[in-house]
Structures are given as structure tokens and as C-alpha cells.
């Protein structure tokens, strides 16, 4: 290298010395050769630099194209996910959809056993109520009601498994596992009952009749998973505990939340109730204990809104006949009784000859309204007296009662 030669280094430091050194012909030839070598090396380096840059530019160009492709894919994917969320998200929360989208296993058929809390809600006397309404009105009622309930269930991270007419089947603890599923479900049930005030106000605005809902909650082991065929599968729950929840729900009157012993145990001392009672549902061997919930304390603290009912004692008691129902079949004896009082929360006081069992379902026909069937459940019983809660109160009967003079 030229610059490594001490003679040339001296020249570089002191240009005046160059003339002296270049005067020597051998040194001059050496200098020219060295400059030529430097020039060649310089040319190579420039070429190397330019060619490497060209390669870098080419790769950056490809990178830019790839970035555009990825961005387009991201947009497409977001559209797809938004669509899935929109279709699916009416029934389950975003959390659930995201979990399923994130795990490929989520899309496979098959199930697993899991302990969950099941919530079933149903409208009291909805079939009777529908009889006097047009199909558009029925759908309008259901949309207002189901929309409000779905929102509450979503807030408590439950996932709606099914709407069965006016009934809702929701589960807590799947597909996303939740340790506190019993508590969430019971608190959700109370929140749903509280939301009924808003629902009925909205229905009234549209000139639609008010609704009453009962809710059953139960914790038990079920099979969860994608059930069905490859073409049509849904994430669902099956098992006897689902049926048992439905039975528990059937013991409710409007505005009530009944929960099983297993759900009550999970909540422990955070559960507030009016008490408990034993029932013997069909198809269940042992009697089961059911708790009548008024509230939940602790992290999900929520309580029922209790407004004390005011009895309207009728100036003239109304004669009626009732039939005790076994299941949904009517067929018992017609028993005469008197309706002596009622309130604005669908309760009525009956004067009866023989005592009535608690929670018996009755069909009532007032002498003043022959042919109009009302349904009620016995909620309190004393000798000669029974308090019933209407589970289906035809409008004609409601109007008749409201129109009758009350005792001062």
C-alpha cells in the first residue's frame, strides 16, 4: 500500500518533499503503479457500494410490497372478524368470540365436562298474553325484552346459549372459564329482574302490555362444546342439570329468582334470601332445596328492588272457581272460593274452604267473567286464606278488578 511506505508518508505530510522524491525515476514509476492500484481498488469499492445499495433497494422494494399485502390482509381479516362478531355477538360477548377466534380448537366439534352455572329465564303467562296480540306486536315485545336481557347477561359475562321463544338459556363459566360463575349468574339474574322495570316502561311507551319474568339458576356439571354436524354446529350445553335448571325456573312467579342448593352453597354468606323450600320435580328422585333470592353481597353486590305491595280490599268479594293443576294438564276438581283483595303486583287474596298447598298452580275463572281463564301460583297459605300470584292475568280480568270498588 502506497501510504504504508515511509517515504510516501513523508511526502503526504510535507508536499514540498514530493518534488525531491519524484525526481528519482524508479520512485516515480513505483508511485504511478501505486496510484493505479489505488484507483482500481477505489473503482471496485464504488462498484461494491453501488451494487450492494442496489440489492438493498431491491429488498426494500419487496418489503414495501409485502407490507402493503399484509395491510390489505389485516383489513380483510378485520372485516371478517367484525362480521363474525356481528352475527355471533348478538348472542355471546366479544370476549367469547375473541376466545373462539384465537383458538383453533374452539372451532372443532366435540365436548368436555365442566361445572358451570346455568341461568334460565322465562316470561310468566306469555302464551296467554300473546293470544290477544298480532304477530308484529309479539315480535316487538320479544325484541325489546330479549334485547334488554342480552345486554345485562353480556355485562355479567354470561353467554347466551339459546333463545327458546320467550325463554333464555345462558351459561356462566364457558366457553371462557370463570372461577366466580355461580356468583356472576345469581347477580345477573337479580340485575335482569331489576331491568324489567325499564323493559315494561319501554313496552308501555309503545302501548304494549307489561311482562313478568321468573329466573332459575343452578350450578352443576354439564357437557359443553360444539354440538351438531360440521355444517351446522353451535356451542351448547347439555345434561340433566340443564333440565333441572328449567324445573327450578318453573317454580318461580313473576319477579322471582330461585336458585338451587349447589348455587347457594357456592355463594355462601354473600347470598341474601327470603328463605328456602323443598320441591320434588318430576323425573328427579330426591326432593331438592330451592332458595328464594333477594340479593347478593360482596364484589357483585346487588339486591332486588322491593316495593311494598298495597292491598286493595274489594267492597264485594268476587266468587270464582279454581282448579289445581298437575303439570300443565288441567283436570282437577273445580273448587269455589272468593277473591277478597288484590294489589298492583299481580297478587290476590283468596278466601278458601280447604287449605291449599304452597306453590300449587291454579286455574281460576271468575263468576263475573265466565270463559276467561287466569293462572296463579300459591305464594302464601293460612287456614281459610291463600295468597296467590297471577302467572297469567288476562287483560279483561285486570280491567274488571281495577274497576271494582274497593273498601275504604
Amino acid at each position: 500500500m502506497l501510504t504504508e511506505d515511509p517515504r510516501w508518508r513523508r511526502v503526504l505530510a510535507d508536499p514540498d518533499a514530493a518534488a525531491e522524491l519524484l525526481a528519482d525515476p524508479a520512485a516515480r514509476a513505483e508511485f504511478v503503479a501505486a496510484v493505479a492500484a489505488l484507483q482500481a481498488e477505489h473503482d471496485d469499492l464504488v462498484l461494491l457500494h453501488d451494487s450492494t445499495l442496489e440489492h438493498a433497494n431491491e429488498i426494500e422494494e419487496q418489503l414495501a410490497v409485502k407490507i402493503e399485502q399484509v395491510e390489505a390482509l389485516v383489513v380483510e381479516l378485520e372485516l371478517r372478524n367484525a362480521f363474525i362478531r356481528q352475527v355471533f355477538g348478538r348472542h355471546v360477548t366479544d370476549e367469547v368470540v375473541n376466545t373462539l377466534l384465537a383458538s383453533p380448537e374452539g372451532r372443532q366439534l366435540g365436548g368436555e365436562r365442566r361445572t358451570l352455572t346455568i341461568l334460565i329465564s322465562d316470561l310468566r303467562g306469555f302464551s296467554t298474553l300473546c293470544e290477544g296480540l298480532g304477530p308484529e306486536q309479539v315480535v316487538a315485545i320479544l325484541n325489546i325484552y330479549l334485547g334488554a336481557m342480552a345486554e345485562v347477561i353480556g355485562e355479567y359475562r354470561g353467554s347466551i346459549n339459546e333463545f327458546i321463544g320467550d325463554a333464555i338459556l345462558a351459561v356462566f363459566g364457558a366457553p371462557v372459564p370463570q372461577e366466580d360463575h355461580p356468583e356472576r349468574a345469581v347477580a345477573c339474574a337479580i340485575a335482569m329482574q331489576r331491568a324489567m322495570g325499564r323493559v315494561n316502561a319501554e313496552l308501555a311507551e309503545h302501548g304494549l302490555p307489561a311482562l313478568e319474568m321468573g329466573i332459575g339458576v343452578h350450578t352443576g356439571e354439564v357437557v359443553v362444546g360444539n354440538i351438531g354436524s360440521n355444517k351446522r354446529a353451535k356451542y351448547g350445553v347439555v345434561g340433566r342439570h340443564v333440565n333441572l335448571t328449567s324445573r327450578i325456573e318453573s317454580y318461580t312467579v313473576g319477579g322471582q329468582v330461585l336458585i338451587s342448593e349447589s348455587a347457594a352453597r357456592a355463594l355462601g354468606d354473600r347470598l341474601r334470601t327470603r328463605g328456602c323450600f323443598e320441591v320434588r320435580p318430576k323425573g328427579v328422585r330426591e326432593p331438592i332445596t330451592i332458595h328464594d333470592v333477594t340479593g347478593v353481597d360482596g364484589p357483585f353486590a346487588i339486591h332486588m328492588t322491593e316495593e311494598p305491595a298495597e292491598w286493595r280490599v274489594l267492597a264485594e268479594p268476587q266468587p270464582l272457581v279454581f282448579t289445581a293443576l298437575e303439570g300443565k294438564d288441567t283436570g282437577g276438581q273445580e273448587v269455589p272460593a272468593l277473591l277478597v283483595a288484590h294489589d298492583d303486583r299481580h297478587n290476590a287474596e283468596l278466601q278458601v274452604a280447604a287449605p291449599l298447598p304452597l306453590r300449587a298452580d291454579l286455574k281460576l275463572v271468575l263468576a263475573a267473567l265466565p270463559g276467561v281463564d287466569a293462572y296463579a301460583k300459591v305464594v302464601a297459605a293460612a287456614p281459610g286464606r291463600a295468597t296467590v300470584r297471577f302467572t297469567a292475568l288476562p287483560r279483561a280480568l285486570q280491567e274488571l278488578l281495577d274497576g271494582l270498588p274497593a273498601r275504604a
Binding site: L47, L48, T52, H55, I59
Partner: protein
């Protein structure tokens, strides 16, 4: 000069790292480049040494790039420097096998001719 710190694994004539392999097939006198090469300049040292050695020992050489999906700037720089070294050594035949389906190869491999005019570039 052997740099053992950056050598990933394998022998002097078979260099393997995450996602790439560079190896010399002695009977075929061909250096195979495979996978994705995105090392830093200093990390290319073992490959540079391999190329220097085979350049010294063989008058004819093949470089097979058909399985090399990606080569970063430090990598192409090393390859161009190898071409300069081969030109300076003189009396050597180098043939490069590339693939036109790998976008960067169609652009960057023909540039080897600027450093080594006698090189043969075959793109399939």
C-alpha cells in the same frame, strides 16, 4: 484465522444456523446456499472463510443459490467481495446457479459480472 465465536454449528465446510445452511459439496466443487441469510457483517465470517478456502483450492467452482430465499445486504456484499477476490486470483471458472422465481436473485446475481466478467450466471 478462525473465528469461533460467531460460528453457529457444523464444520468448516458445513455451516448451519437458524434457518440457513451453507455447505461445500467437495466432489461437485459446489457451495450450496440454503434458507434465509440475514446475518450481520461479522457473523458472515465463517462463510467468508469457507469461500476463501475453496477459492484457493479449486480452479473451478459452482455456487448454488436456488434454495436461498433471502440474502441481506451484508450477504450480497460478501458475495461481491468474493467475486473481486476471484478476479484478482485469476485463472478460475465460477458458475452461479440461481432461481428467477426468487425476486432478488434476478436483479442482484447478474451484478456479479461487474466484479468478475468471466462468471457464468444460470437462472432457472
Amino acid at each position: 484465522m478462525t473465528d469461533t465465536t460467531t460460528r453457529p454449528s457444523g464444520s468448516d465446510t458445513d455451516i448451519k444456523g437458524p434457518g440457513y445452511r451453507v455447505w461445500f459439496d467437495a466432489p461437485a466443487r459446489t457451495v450450496h446456499f440454503e434458507g434465509v441469510l440475514r446475518l450481520s457483517t461479522s457473523e458472515y465470517k465463517p462463510i467468508e472463510d469457507l469461500l476463501d478456502r475453496v477459492l484457493l483450492d479449486h480452479p473451478a467452482l459452482g455456487l448454488r443459490m436456488t434454495e436461498l430465499q433471502f440474502l441481506n445486504s451484508s450477504g450480497i456484499n460478501m458475495l461481491y467481495k468474493f467475486a473481486i477476490a476471484a478476479r484478482k486470483k485469476g485463472d478460475i471458472e465460477v458458475k452461479v446457479h440461481g432461481s428467477s422465481t426468487i425476486p432478488w436473485q434476478g436483479k442482484s446475481l447478474p451484478n456479479l459480472k461487474k466484479f468478475l466478467p468471466t462468471i457464468v450466471i444460470a437462472l432457472d
